[in-house]
Amino acid sequence: MINAVLVFNNTGQPRLTKFYSQIDVNLQQRLISEIFTLVANRPASACNFLPLPPLLQKTSSEALSDTDQPTRIIYRHYATLYFIIIADDLESELGLLDLIQVFVECLDRIFENVCELDLIFNFETLHQVLAEMIQGGGVVEVDRATIVESVRKAAKVTKRPQASLPDSATRSASPSGRSTPSHMAHRGSGVTGIGSNDFVWSGR
């Protein structure tokens, strides 16, 4: 099971927090900051698996008895954002890496050249995309087209004229500007990293 999906930026500001088990808000914040310290110190060349932060480390007695504990933290770093998934050992590490990739690609399709600001001002959409992919800690859908289509269809039901999407004028007028690269590219490899179609998801 997936225990949590987190997105935060290079300074540790959360952009999306989704916990699939109910924990206290303060603990959430502590966990985020612990993971951020871990992830922020990693060189770009390091692998995408994090050791467990102190908060998640098993006590020796629990280690034997329980199998439901989160055992892996997988992250990817795109431009200014870190995408984190915490999961237990029934999930595949490499698969989750791809899942992050799928998530980012879906966002990219929906926002067209997604950047951090899109996510800030449309965090509700962010949640919707995630809900189409992961429900209650289980993966429901991994097909990009289906996910994007569902989100778009649901948006039409709202009949809201995409008020949540700021037009380009307001976007450029926003205080700190678009200092981030407009297109989030996975470091070096763009979207053809480990998660590219032919590499891992050859089946589809």
């Binding site: 914040q29 390091a46 692998c47 698969g95 809900a131 429901v140 032919d198």
Partner: protein, 1028 residues
Amino acid sequence: MFEKSLYDLIRGLRAHKGNEKAYITQSLQECRNEARSNDMDIKCAAILKLIYLEMFGHSMSWASFHVLEVMSSQKFVQKRVGYLAAVQSFRLDTDVLMLATNLLKKDLSSPNQFELSLAINGLSHIVSPSLARDLTPDLIAKMNHSNPYIRKKAVLVMYKIFLQFPEALRTSFPRLRERLEDNDETVVSATVNVICELSRKNPKNYLPLAPQLFNLLTTSKNNWMTIKIIKLFASLTPLEPRLVKKLVPPISNIIKTTTAMSLLYECINGLISGGLLTHLAGTSDGEDLAILCVGKLRGFLVEGDSNLKYVALLALTKMTKTHGYLVAAEKDVILECIDDEDVSIRLRALELVVGMVDAEILQQVVGRLLRQLRPVSSDDIDTSGKDYDANEEDEENGEVELVKRTQGPAKQAVSLPDDYKDGVIRRILEMCSKDTYANMPDFEWYIDVLVQLVRYCPGEIKASGGQSLDDEDFEEAYTAGGKVDVGEEIGRELRNVAVRVKTVRRQATEAAELLIGRSSTMFPVSGGGGKRVLLAAAWIVGEYAEHLRNPNETIDSLLQSSNASLAADVVSTYVQAIPKVYSYLTSNDSIAWTLERKTTVSFLTNRVVEFLETLSSSPHLEVQERAVGFLEIFRLAKEAIAEQPANTNGVPDEGEGGMQEEYDPPLILTQAIPSLFHGFELNPVAPRAQRKVPIPDTLDLDGPINPQLAFLLSSADYDASVGDVDPTVVAADQEFEKFYYQKPVVVVETAAQRIDRAAQSAAGGEKHGMTGSYQSGEDTYLDPDIVARRKAERRERNKDDPFYIGSTGASGRTTPNPLGGEHFDIDSIPIMKLDLGDGVGLVKGEGNVRAPVPRVKVEIAGDEGDGMDDGDDGEPVGVGGLKAKGKKGKGKNILNVDSSNLVGFSLEEPEEDLLAQEEDVAKAKKEVERLRGEIARAAERVRVPTVQPIVEVPPQAQPTEVAKKKKKKKAVEEGDDGEKKKVKKKKKKEGEQGTGDQAESIPVVKKKKKKRRSSTAEAGGDAGEDAG
């Protein structure tokens, strides 16, 4: 009034950089007001803002009622916001949750698929036991929804329902099973996902699904699902070994054909964790499979992708247990990973290497690790580079390649974090000491490594471990952390080697000597940095004083006044070591007791007394106790030395000494003090050996050892206050004397009276001793300024000494044997070059000194008392600390999913009628209440002879009721603990009822259906028992 939209809030936040806190507080207050608004739009906007702020840690639990309001909005947009808020903020104990049931029921029956999916997704987060119970029927219906979009979500949410309400599993399992045949792939995938989670809790239930799953495995094109199926099978195979044979062909087929790395890896992982490889071990199939796996994993390692490397190392680590030899064959690529630039890969590789290391590669691995630990600074790199070039040639024919020359990357290694260094050192120790040094090819080398490691010890990791703490605090700091200081670990190893391996005891002792000798310059004053290695070093130096190269200097170092500031436990070891070395130096009675000798010994004794005196008022109890104890002995020795006249060869001695030609050294030196330490040789003892010693019957721990102790002590005090011989305490003195000097070797029979005086006159005696030493020209014991000069000289001399680190000069200078012992074999001293001083050096076995030795069988002493029932008890002393990897207990793990309900939950309960029963439960409760009165009355009437007509009324309701309750009871008992109270209550009722109808109702029920009758009887019986 203008309300802020979320957009405004975010912009505002960005505009208020620096004082966001105030802005947020203000915004929260606004939200509070807006949430109370009657305008749904405003309310909704407020909730949306709250969700945003919740992300930054501002709890919105207070708004849960407003969230519920928004959830029930007619507009989808608002409903969606409401559900999002619920998902993010509701907890199991949120009280409005119970109000949500109807809302969810309504949304679950919505014709709009998006509303429906919203409700399902929401439910997956907020489901509580009661919600689960009430909504299960609706969700089961949704599993057959016409739209796969709904089906997949409905299937997936069922797992969350099962977690809260396990009974639902029985009702819905047939439906769930049908979904495995669904024509939509994502639905099947979701079903597999759910079954995979369930199967981990109780795999037995899902064995019947194996054929279906197997079919999916062979036909599926969906990698994600295939991964899950393989994980699922990994949990099933331990229960059904026959599956293994079935599974091997398709899985190995996938391994061979797939291009998806994740699938490939999970296949291999599944083979390992499902025990398939273990099961097949030994067969040719199994071998082929294992070779295939290892080959693929090797591919991962050389691929160059750090993620693949990481997972491959993980898998290989698991494989070492069953196929260690195959893994070891890949050591070339694995060892490369030890030097990987990514620290997490290094750690994985390290873990793997610890598992697979053997005698052949041990030195190579340790060499690599030592290289990593070497501190990097610009000039170091140059020198070290040269060093290697120079040594490389020498080593061409050397027996072991200690340090594999690695290319560029390792050299530009960044400075490593301290905890990594710490971990590496521990790993080195772990792999070297594994299985009581089973893999150790060369102990001399190991000792050098240990000394080197002390150099590389990182500074204090935990600030709390400083020496400024008291004994208790100190101990606490270490035990609470559960981690022994890494320096202490190294010390333990050194001690272990010294004790267990007699052939290198000398080398070990010399290493300890070196550490003691240089302790003041080598370790940071602040503690840490491996300083605690001194604990073991001091012990070794004392215990094996006969192996010391230069005992005089060693005792000198031990007596440094600065030593008093070491950690308390280290000082107490020092106190213990000093008499041992002293005894070694002075006990030799073959050395003539000349004046020179006498002054030397007397001066040494004075120094010891002086040192101990400073410690005898130490705040640390252990130090003080030991110091005081030894202090008394040394005062006695001092007395004896002063008393004992020296041999006079021409030097006229005054008094009675002049009459005799020959004087022996005082007996206290030659016999009394040595006898304190020379009993049996100390052997390693298994940690639990003591338990095997039977407690003697006569052992009485409560009885006083010396019943007269109190008297003796008071008389001693009295004696002290009075001073010299006092006629009134003569009797006490005799007691006192007897108490202290029972030993046959008593030399100073009159000392009892003089003990205190001796202390007073110590100063005078010292002066005398000092002048003596000046005159004698003995250069060992000198005034402080001279000592300082001598120290410098010594340092100078040590430059050439191969045992002193920091030298770059020639190796193998022999030094004169200071002991005169005939066993001292100069050639046996290993000549090693340890380049420690500037941190450049690496341990090198000097090939030209020793011929390439094929591994010599070294006798390693095992633990004593580690006999019959060892099992895992008998772990070597030194390793113990490594194994106890206590981590800070955090109580409950925070992201833990509580699935205890599902563990061992069986599907085997009769499944018919379960649904009906659920609905009956509520009714039954009410009926129980209603019937209770009647039953009570009936029970009363039972005593009345006329039975038949009275019982006519209840049976219609009652037996049905009881049957229902019986069933329900069973169901509930399977369920969560929360229900238990209710069950108890009901039992009670049944008890009352049961005793009532046990007597009479059974014959009545005979008229009714037989089935009912039996259940009633059963229930009655049970209840009767309960009541009784």
